[in-house]
């Protein structure tokens, strides 16, 4: 399986990565090589094999629905790129 530059541009958009035309060509070549490695998986028949998502065969824990964190808004917002009046600032999304 090899990827062309159109596919690379589509993947980059899904991943929210801006790429130039030169980069698209380079990524097409590199990602195709990596997919070549990955396709070695097809050498093994995995029909009826239960997929393994996680090394531990234990159910995730549940906890009481209680507030356990204290409010540290000012501390956390002190490291944000842009804040105003306790809110995170982003470019306008609604006209």
């Amino acid at each position: 399986m090899s990827l062309d530059t159109n596919q690379v541009r589509k993947i980059a958009h899904l991943a929210r990565l801006r790429i130039s035309s030169d980069e698209a060509e380079q990524y097409a070549e590199e990602l195709s090589r990596i997919l070549g490695l990955i396709e070695q998986m097809n050498a093994v028949d995995t029909r009826n094999v239960e997929p393994m998502a996680h090394p531990l065969d234990v159910p995730l824990r549940l906890r009481e629905d209680e507030v356990t964190e204290v409010d540290q808004r000012e501390k956390f917002q002190a490291i944000a790129p842009a804040v105003e009046a306790g809110l995170y600032l982003v470019p306008k999304v609604i006209e």
Binding site: V8, L17, L31, V49, L56, P81, V93
Partner: protein
């Protein structure tokens, strides 16, 4: 003093032969003198010395624990309150963590001193420490060569005696490979043993933190602090933690060592193979027995991993959006453009490659062929270990197919770089504990690492075997020239 192990330093502190302030000062000076290794991203003498003073005061009050006052270098993947925590990335180059990772909190509670934050591959994605935004780390055994990655800064720091011990994290070999290439003892615990809270996520079903030290005894001392249940990590397991130092000296007569045929075949450097054979012979002299075992699916661990780890990474790294913390690009047109520019400029080439592979593998129409297939293969790889462990107590083989390679040798070829982890990756896929210990040197004087793989939660046994081996060998005591 810099030549001493953690156990010896702890004893010297206990006997008041040295203070933590003196010790911390000595290591800070060494870090400064050997800055050319690029082992650290952040050194903050004021903060470290404040902790050292507090440790000395605590000892004076009679409230010291074994590691109180011992300086330990922390991989820059662990959030430490008030410390710059970059994860080796431009994306977090300005990120001062507002809280402590559980691993950091545990070391702080034990009275250990944070000696600085060590360099690493960007977001722990790499096998050579060449993907760091802060530049490559040099191997103290040959500064023209890589220290291995992703915990390369921690490895170089301990190997060069800039720190008595360090932490690392291991998603596909990132503790064991650098340990092997720099003559250290490195332990990746079982998945679920050490809390991942505040440890910046790469691939959440694989990541695990662990110690990087000069001896197995030191690794046991560090693991005693690091291991344990944490309600803040949903994958942390609530199981009792043994005292890992208590069983170090246990007899290993009758121990059954499994030798996987697949780990000694084509692709393994002949000098590495000879060293591992000699190390196994040494373990036989201590009374261990060997049996041949098979891990038939291990050859597909690398392709399987390069679906699962990037898939998980593409999801984990979607949080870096330039809104709440970290880097934000300038000159954007709208929100989507801000995300795209921020991520394009904030991430390096290897991280972007993996995000794209992961995004592709999870995208509509390809999920079954890649992600599901890899999860099925993961089951087969894990089952191989279950079967092998019916016939043995530990599995032993090489950690890396070669010794340290030259800086730049594999940077143009991602696939070639990925194959560096051919013997370590299957251990993460299965979630087992794995360890690398010094086992000799090649003709060029470069270290060779031996890998020990254990059953689930059998870290104590790995440490026991490693310690007994270190009682009858002295590879682990050797220091690189110029750093003695």
């Amino acid at each position: 003093m810099i030549e001493r192990t953690v156990a010896e330093l702890a004893q010297a502190l206990h006997e008041r032969k040295i203070s933590s302030v003196e010790l911390t000062t000595a290591f800070l000076e060494r870090i400064e003198r050997h800055r050319a290794l690029n082992a650290f991203i952040t050194v903050d003498p004021e903060r470290s010395l404040a902790q050292a003073r507090a440790a000395d005061a605590r000892r004076a009050q009679g409230e010291a624990q074994p590691l109180t006052g011992v300086p330990i270098a922390q991989k820059d993947i662990f959030c430490a309150d008030g410390w710059l925590t970059t994860c080796g990335s431009r994306m977090l180059a300005n990120f001062v963590a507002p809280y402590d990772a559980t691993v950091i909190a545990r070391f702080n509670a034990a009275g250990a001193v944070i000696l600085g934050k060590t360099n690493m591959d960007e977001f722990a994605m790499g096998s050579s420490n060449e993907t760091s935004y802060f530049g490559p780390v040099k191997n103290p055994w040959d500064v023209e060569r890589v220290p291995g990655g992703s915990s390369g800064g921690s490895a170089a720091a301990v190997a060069a005696r800039l720190a008595p011990a360090a932490t690392g994290t291991d998603t596909g070999g990132s503790i064991r490979l650098p340990a092997a290439l720099t003559n250290l003892t490195g332990l990746k615990p079982s998945y679920g043993r050490v809390s991942r809270y505040g440890m910046i996520a790469f691939a959440s079903s694989l990541d695990q933190g662990g110690p990087m030290t000069r001896t197995a005894e030191d690794a046991a001392l560090l693991l005693n602090v690091m291991a344990g249940f944490d309600p803040r990590d949903s994958t942390s397991l609530d199981r009792p933690v043994p005292d890992y130092t208590a069983t170090l000296n246990d007899d290993i007569r009758g121990l059954r060592i499994g030798l996987p045929r697949e780990y000694f075949g084509e692709g393994l450097n002949a000098e590495v193979a000879r060293a591992i054979d000699a190390a196994i012979a040494e373990l036989r002299k201590l009374g261990a027995e060997t049996v041949e075992v098979e891990l038939p699916n291990s050859k597909l661990a690398v392709p399987c991993y390069y679906v699962l780890a990037p898939a998980e990474a593409s999801s984990n790294l979607s949080r870096y959006d330039g809104v709440r913390y970290g880097y934000r690009a300038e000159g954007y047109e709208d929100l989507i453009d801000m995300y795209c520019r921020t991520r394009a400029e904030g991430f390096g080439a290897e991280v972007k490659r993996r995000i794209m592979i992961g995004t592709y593998a999870l995208s509509a129409g390809y999920y079954d062929a890649y992600y599901l297939k890899a999860q099925q293969l993961r089951r087969l790889i894990a089952n191989d270990f279950v079967r092998a462990f019916e016939r043995c107590d530990v599995i032993i083989g090489p950690t890396s197919p070669t010794t340290a390679f030259r800086l730049g040798a594999k940077t143009d070829d991602p696939v070639e770089m990925y194959l560096s982890d051919i013997y370590t990756i299957s251990v993460n896929l299965a979630g087992l504990p794995g360890m690398s210990i010094p086992a000799g040197f090649d003709a060029q004087g470069l270290p060779i690492g031996m890998q020990l793989i254990g059953k689930y939660f059998d870290e104590a046994r790995l440490l026991n075997v490693a310690h007994r081996y270190q009682q009858v060998t002295d590879w682990h005591r050797r220091a690189p020239r110029g750093f003695e």
